[in-house]
Symmetry: C2
């Protein structure tokens, strides 16, 4: 998943961000001077801020700065900025959110719900979308909301770990595993749970197995590989959406994690959700959320509800433009874009001749009702050239920042590369890749 | 602080929320039926959702349900719904937030900033507000954003704890201390830090002392009481705003925590911030935020920026209505409301005759430039009647839910009561209190 963070993130970000930062600082300076000029408290200044000034105050950031053909290209994180084009289309209007100043002030959203801070509107849209896509069961499940799905991952570890134990429960996952699982499990050095590495080499009956399917980083379809009756599982289904993989069945695992980030591309909204079968587990996950952040931002939840609602509306009301097309059908639009990118990447790999990718896999998608090839959100690129021992370093010399296989529990000849960045960054990446010999 | 959670939260919430929940369920049912009616995927339904239906989809929750004179009144949490009246006033219009569907999709806000997920607009408004109020130094400080200030509290524990140590560092605070400090410190049973109780009885040179000033629960002005050169401090200044206490000096501690929740009343937005002097500490706190939630919702940050901006605009542009008054001056308005409530509470306590409150304290406020009495966000109520040994239970028999002194490290004859709930809940509370003999 692109819901990632690396050790050198600030450093890398700093390097590619100098231009953007200078621009932002200039804006800040202008606004500071304006504020300074009018800031004499006690003096009556009749001037109201103009519409333009009001807008300036809430102008959002624009994410990473644009890239040029000779820029450093960061494909380390799966920043899903590819989706922005879709949301700038006609559907964008129905996805606009308005929040009056007096709204959503209370901590509480629904005092009668197990998850008392979950906005009822978001719960409705989550259930509606799953019913529409058919990727996960919602009947009989509790819906929990998190600040991204990785917070819910931590809440699941907290809920599944035995409260009193001689030693922490082992958390394992089949290699290659998402690079954040080890660091997020271990950063607080908890006595409740600890990272124990590759599930294939784990020996024991008490464990939490994390299953990411389609798998980050390699896109593989996964199931639990450990089979003890006392073992627990967390299913991270961030990528189980039709743009990445055929929806082949309605999953109904004990704990299933999803995120708006990878579903619609709104990573900055930081909303994830969990579908949880067991009430006691759900209650304990919720307790984690209370202690960790006293719930989840309502504004972010309303945003997510609006976005998910617009996606479902696009399908349910078939909001196509007169000329037809998929301009309001998120999963069809995004699948087409992803398929286009994968073709471009495979062509570049063929031209270069020194790389390899996992083989194509496909299946019948019960949502789109056709046979499709999977388009993973990451390329899991291996270098077949003997001299290149450290592919991350090799690509960095070509000004492409990727994430080494070592962070996923495997070797240095393979890297993970985001396939969901902007068109410009992606195009520069494949152009450069094709020239490598 | 009202940024709280108790063990029986879901249970209590359930009890007081039955009416609200039924109402919400009816709404959900209607919307579900509507969705069901139009949900035949594949069938072309020409109807677009009407404006009304679109609004229904994102209708926000309305927090806790209304209360009647015989209702159970929950003043356990400091849910700052008192402020809603202010934001429904003329200033509300300028505090309205609009977010187009395509905005804030990236994980990144400012790649050149140490806190790369901090919206530049929020940082500007935070610095602007502190300059306006004069309660905390911002020059030379790093600004970090959190999902509420308790997440930043945890990030500070992570940053200040020695990474390699034989035993966890002790976290202490002067009694009575905020009831969440022990549970939030210990819930993951970290080997990095552990709760060690009252700072007054702590013996040692290595510790993290948490100083809450004005103090939750009793409103006292606090400083560190331990003086070792190797000890660390976290200053929780959630209530250091003019409506609660005179601003007597511009504080400049190493780590200072604030929250929108207690400043403007927007608890549901879940935005807190830290002012941090040391760059390495700020970097490590930021690392915690990356690992815990991969940053903070941009939508929530934009909301907070808009709200804080409206507050500062209210003062800088003196947005008063023609007849004058404080209708656009948050701190003046809220101070007047708080003072009114405190007078009502003290009168009820005098009429009853069985309770006592901490004595009034005051001082010269450098922001409002007058002598003022403090109006703490919580009443720290003690029962002087011998037969009443457990005040929380006693008040619960009168259908008033409060938080026992035992959760703050002291005895059962005292409770903490929120002073920032709705007018209706507060009025019922003081009426009942006056009748207790």
């Amino acid at each position: 998943m692109a819901r990632d963070h690396g050790d050198g993130l600030a450093a890398i970000a700093g390097r590619i961000g100098v231009v953007g930062s200078v621009a932002l600082n200039l804006v800040a300076l202008v606004i500071y001077l304006r504020g300074h000029f009018f800031s004499s408290v006690g003096t009556v200044v009749e001037k109201r801020p103009s519409k333009k000034e009001e807008l300036a105050v809430v102008a959002p950031s624009c994410g990473k700065p644009s890239v040029l053909s000779d820029s450093m290209i960061s494909l380390d994180h799966g920043d899903p900025t590819m989706f922005e084009t879709f949301w700038r289309g006609p559907i964008g209007k129905s996805a606009m959110l308005v929040i009056p100043g007096w709204q959503t002030m209370s901590y509480f959203s629904d005092v009668g719900n197990l998850c008392w801070f979950l906005e009822p509107g978001l719960e409705r849209e989550v259930r509606r979308l799953h019913r529409l896509i058919g990727n996960a069961a919602v009947e009989g499940y509790h819906v929990l909301v998190g600040t991204g799905s990785m917070q819910l991952f931590q809440s699941a570890l907290y809920a599944l770990a035995p409260p009193i134990a001689d030693s922490p429960i082992s958390v394992v996952s089949h290699t290659p595993f998402y690079s954040s699982y080890p660091s997020v499990t271990d950063f607080l050095d908890s006595r409740l749970y600890r990272w124990a590495g590759d599930a294939n080499t784990f020996d024991g009956d008490n464990y939490i197995e994390v299953v990411c399917s389609p798998n980050n980083p390699d896109g593989a379809i996964r199931e639990t590989i450990l089979k003890s009756k006392t073992g627990k599982a967390i299913h991270d289904l961030a990528y189980y959406w039709p743009q990445y993989t055929p929806i082949t069945q309605m999953l109904a695992h004990d704990i299933m994690l999803f995120t708006v980030s990878k579903c619609t591309g709104h990573a900055g909204t930081r909303i994830g959700w969990a579908l949880v079968k067991d009430k006691q587990v759900a209650q304990k996950m919720n307790k984690f959320m209370e202690l960790n952040t006293i719930g989840v931002s309502k504004d972010a939840q309303l945003r997510a509800a609006k976005i998910l609602g617009a996606v479902a509306d696009g399908y349910e009301f078939q909001l196509t433009i007169p000329s037809g097309g998929d301009v309001n059908l998120l999963f069809h639009y995004a699948r087409r874009q992803m398929a286009h990118r994968w073709r471009a990447l495979r062509a570049a790999v063929a031209v270069s001749g020194i790389f390899s990718l996992p083989g194509e896999v496909g299946g019948f998608c019960t949502f789109t009702k056709d046979m499709v090839i999977a388009n993973p959100a990451f390329a899991w690129l291996r270098c077949e050239k003997e001299e290149v021992e450290d592919l991350e370093s090799f690509l960095r010399e070509h000004k492409i920042i990727t994430r080494s296989g070592t962070k996923f529990g495997v070797d240095r000849k393979v890297v993970r590369i985001s396939m969901v960045d902007t068109d410009e960054a992606f195009n520069i990446f494949v152009d450069r890749l094709a020239t490598m010999k």
